[in-house]
Subunit: 294 residues, 2 copies
Amino acid sequence: MRVGIDVGGTTVKIGIFDNYQVIDKFVVETKKETLFTDVCESIKKRCNEKNYIIDKIGIGLPGHVVGNVIDKLPNVGIENMDLEPIFKKYFPDVNITCTNDANAAALGELLADGDKTKSAYMITLGTGVGGGLVIDGKVRDGSHSNCGEIGHMFVDFVHNFKCSCGLYGCLETVASATGIVRIAKLYFDKFKTKLTKETMTAKDVLDAAKEEDPLGLFVLNLISDALGRAIASVELSVDVDTFYIGGGVSNAGDILINKITEYYKRYAHFAVKNISIKKAKLGNDAGIFGAAYL
Amino acid sequence: MRVGIDVGGTTVKIGIFDNYQVIDKFVVETKKETLFTDVCESIKKRCNEKNYIIDKIGIGLPGHVVGNVIDKLPNVGIENMDLEPIFKKYFPDVNITCTNDANAAALGELLADGDKTKSAYMITLGTGVGGGLVIDGKVRDGSHSNCGEIGHMFVDFVHNFKCSCGLYGCLETVASATGIVRIAKLYFDKFKTKLTKETMTAKDVLDAAKEEDPLGLFVLNLISDALGRAIASVELSVDVDTFYIGGGVSNAGDILINKITEYYKRYAHFAVKNISIKKAKLGNDAGIFGAAYL
């Protein structure tokens, strides 16, 4: 059996898997001081209670990880921590593998799609924009453990907003939940709209687009254009089978996926116009599933 | 021993390798009708004469290849040809592997750099702009055999020239030999220059830059900016150790490599500002070397 762990800012999700099926799931609160000993103890306890025999633990982490050593998890407040000795103390004979949470989610989505050997990119549209790459069924962390940071790809030469990373015109400045609200506010006075300037969320904006609200549709087009350009560049760079669109913003569903696909086809090289762009379907479970099969 | 074959529009280069050293090199004329039987016969003859015992043949091809089947080699005029049966007729017990010539060259450069397990991108600046990707020492053809076509990445939102591929603003429209002359002609009247508008070549333009010719320097900056942006996007997508810059234009040498690096650092994500951007050093031999070790 395998254990998949997905570390988040408020909770840690843990899944026990057997033959690509989840057989148990539980959650541990994210406490900075005791996070990984809490996680190990809860797994140990569950294994003893239910007689699970595990031979592999995979961990998806929200930040920069090199091998099994955490460099930095900004939202958890942990830096420079080697996870190998912590887990080995509890599970001396179990293989441990870590990766970025976006990579784990990418692998989870690919496995859920039923093809273990294909290549896929996952793009997570949340507060920021993250990404993860799986090549021939294997997660790629990259030579500097920075693979998939496509939220910082230059795509918006029109507004050229400054990004939190220090660069300008990054995908994240327009296509994240934050970016969607930023764009909607910027163009608010140019359109007749039912949205409320001060309180609107990214969900409100995309919900409005579904009802053909002119401002909502404008923003939907603008972010889909940015995403279409970014996906076209990624596809030239690494040529995968499928792009999965996940994160809170992806809950907008078909209207967003179809619009991204429309712009992608406009900007894509002729040899790869017909790749597959899909909504990620596992939601919160992608991370534990992918982590278990790293 | 291994055979590396690099198919070009006018000649086919062939190398015999042993333990990563070339021990013999020869050339066959590119005749569309008899190309691969000519190649097989010349290898067979050479092996018989010199008692070479070969167990692997690798082939780099200038066009779209899927597995060992040629889809299209535009400059040779060959389409839809399975190379496996042709080579198997002459070398029944020898393993055959094909790839795009840019991928073969990328692997050749990486091997020449002495690290068989790293990841690298090769960018070839010639009449067009090509690219090849090696991940952890293994060439990546991509899910649609289209990996590395970064000449068609959108980077130039200022001129937005139409590219031969049908898209606009592609890297190739400015950073190829053709693009360099196009840009130099467009801005010719804006600068005092020693260049001659009607006859200047890409080499002339970059040579002029070395002598601080204002037009030459302007073009050098403009193409380095485009290349710096493209490399920053590729690096976010796939995160490799090294970029090799090859092809005729790369003979401009340090002035070009240094300027690309300067712009790359301007556009790069903070976590990967210090990657290595190098001039490819094998020149014409990169293709046979890489092909032999596919």
